[in-house]
């Protein structure tokens, strides 16, 4: 499997959370600049700002335009 989820260690907090929220997974992939910076798109009738987030666990290194 290419997608191995990392279980987050929360200690006492995990035991205090509802059962359905206690198991928190953290993406092993660090988000990169291309996936987090806002860009203004030159669409013809208005300007549209967007941030490009990666699909879960995947890194995106450039805006997927």
């Amino acid at each position: 499997m290419s997608t191995e989820l990392e279980r987050m260690e929360l200690g006492a907090l995990e035991r205090a959370l509802p059962v359905g929220i206690g198991k928190i997974h953290v993406s092993p992939t660090v988000l990169d600049e291309g996936a987090t910076s806002k860009v203004t798109l030159a669409l013809p009738k208005y300007r549209h700002r967007a941030t490009f987030v990666p699909p879960l666990h995947k890194q995106i290194s450039k805006p997927e335009l």
């Binding site: 499997m1 035991r15 359905g20 997974h25 993406s27 987090t36 208005y46 700002r49 879960l56």
Partner: protein, 331 residues
């Protein structure tokens, strides 16, 4: 003019806008809830006049609106109250509370006028229906739903586990779904999880109220997008992969689940339409599962669900469907 309220990180909004540009000459204004704009807003002569970063429009100019994502699109209209500028902390908190109420009333009226002026798709404005109530409604309308239990008792959870029937647990609202782009630069998520021995490890006898639902041994699961009475459904064969068996969103990128377009039975469509009407939803996404006997089980409805990956995988053209609806009132 078409007005779209969304968030900057929603790719489906952009895809719909591309289709609008392909289909019409309509001007599109996209307002992202997570961005700060210079906003001037005035209600006079029975209409709202809005200028965003210098670009002005009236609601009378809007032919269609889409409330895609978010609930607070004009941030920064009202001031923060610095504690050092107030005589006491209680005073500052009270004024902050009143300002939030002022803001709420303004937003409510804005959306009331918007709905009078034009067709509005979606209900993103903080109106996510209560999942537990929706399950009750669905059952009343004749949809099958897996039985559920909510309890703050570890013993109750233990009894469910010991029953051997099989239960899952998930959030009663939305699970955790955070892309922390500033500090840790990682994503954090919760999923639907099977109730297992380690789920109860270390819990106090009185725990936080938790939601449990009977596990249904599914043949496949369904993700359904609807726009009024138009349904586009995808069957996801997630059952045979241990990673995706309980929650297909634990994607297996190496061996992805098979996904195929699916035609919902007409009686299920009719009941789902009734449910959507009862909830006041004209669009959204619905999760269902189908067991090995072919019975359909309703799980939940999400007014602002992600449909892009399914639309792309099965060529459903959901983005075009939405765009066509939005441009249909352009002159």
């Amino acid at each position: 003019m078409i007005l779209i309220f969304s968030k900057s990180n929603d790719p489906s909004t952009l895809d719909v806008i591309r289709w609008i540009h392909r289909l019409s000459d309509a001007k599109v204004v996209r307002i992202n809830a997570d961005e700060t704009y210079d906003v001037d807003i005035t209600f006079r002569d029975d209409d709202y006049h809005v200028a965003i970063d210098g670009d002005g429009f009236r609601l009378a100019d809007v032919s269609s609106a889409w409330l895609r994502k978010g609930s607070f699109w004009f941030s920064g209209l009202f001031p923060q109250v610095p504690e050092d500028a107030a005589p006491s902390r209680a005073f500052a908190q009270h004024v902050e509370h009143r300002l939030r109420q002022e803001d709420m009333r303004l937003r409510e009226h804005f959306h009331y006028v918007l709905r009078r002026r034009c067709e509005v798709l979606g209900s993103a404005m903080g109106s996510s229906p209560n999942k537990l109530t929706v399950l009750e409604m669905a059952r009343e309308l004749g949809l099958r739903t897996p039985p559920f239990c909510v309890s703050s008792s570890r013993q109750q959870a233990r009894d469910l586990l010991d029953s051997g029937v099989g239960y899952i647990s998930k959030a009663m609202s939305d699970g955790i779904y955070l892309f922390d782009v500033h500090e840790s630069r990682r994503g954090y998520f919760t999923y639907t999880e099977a109730l297992e021995e380690d789920s109860l490890d270390g819990l106090e006898p009185r725990m936080a109220p938790s939601f449990f639902q009977r596990y249904v041994d599914k043949a496949f699961e369904l993700r359904v997008f609807f726009l009024d009475d138009v349904f586009r459904a995808v069957a996801i064969f997630s059952q045979n992969d241990e990673q995706t068996r309980v929650d297909y969103r634990k994607y297996n990128d190496q061996t992805p689940n098979r996904m195929v377009p699916y035609q919902l039975p007409s009686d299920v469509q009719r009941k789902l339409t009734s449910l959507a009407e009862r909830l006041g939803l004209n669009t959204g996404s619905i999760d269902l599962i189908v067991d090995h006997a072919g019975e359909h089980y309703f799980l939940e409805v999400n007014p602002v669900g992600q449909f892009g990956p399914l639309s792309e995988a099965c060529n459903l053209s959901i983005e075009r469907l939405i765009a066509e609806r939005l441009v249909s009132r352009e002159h």
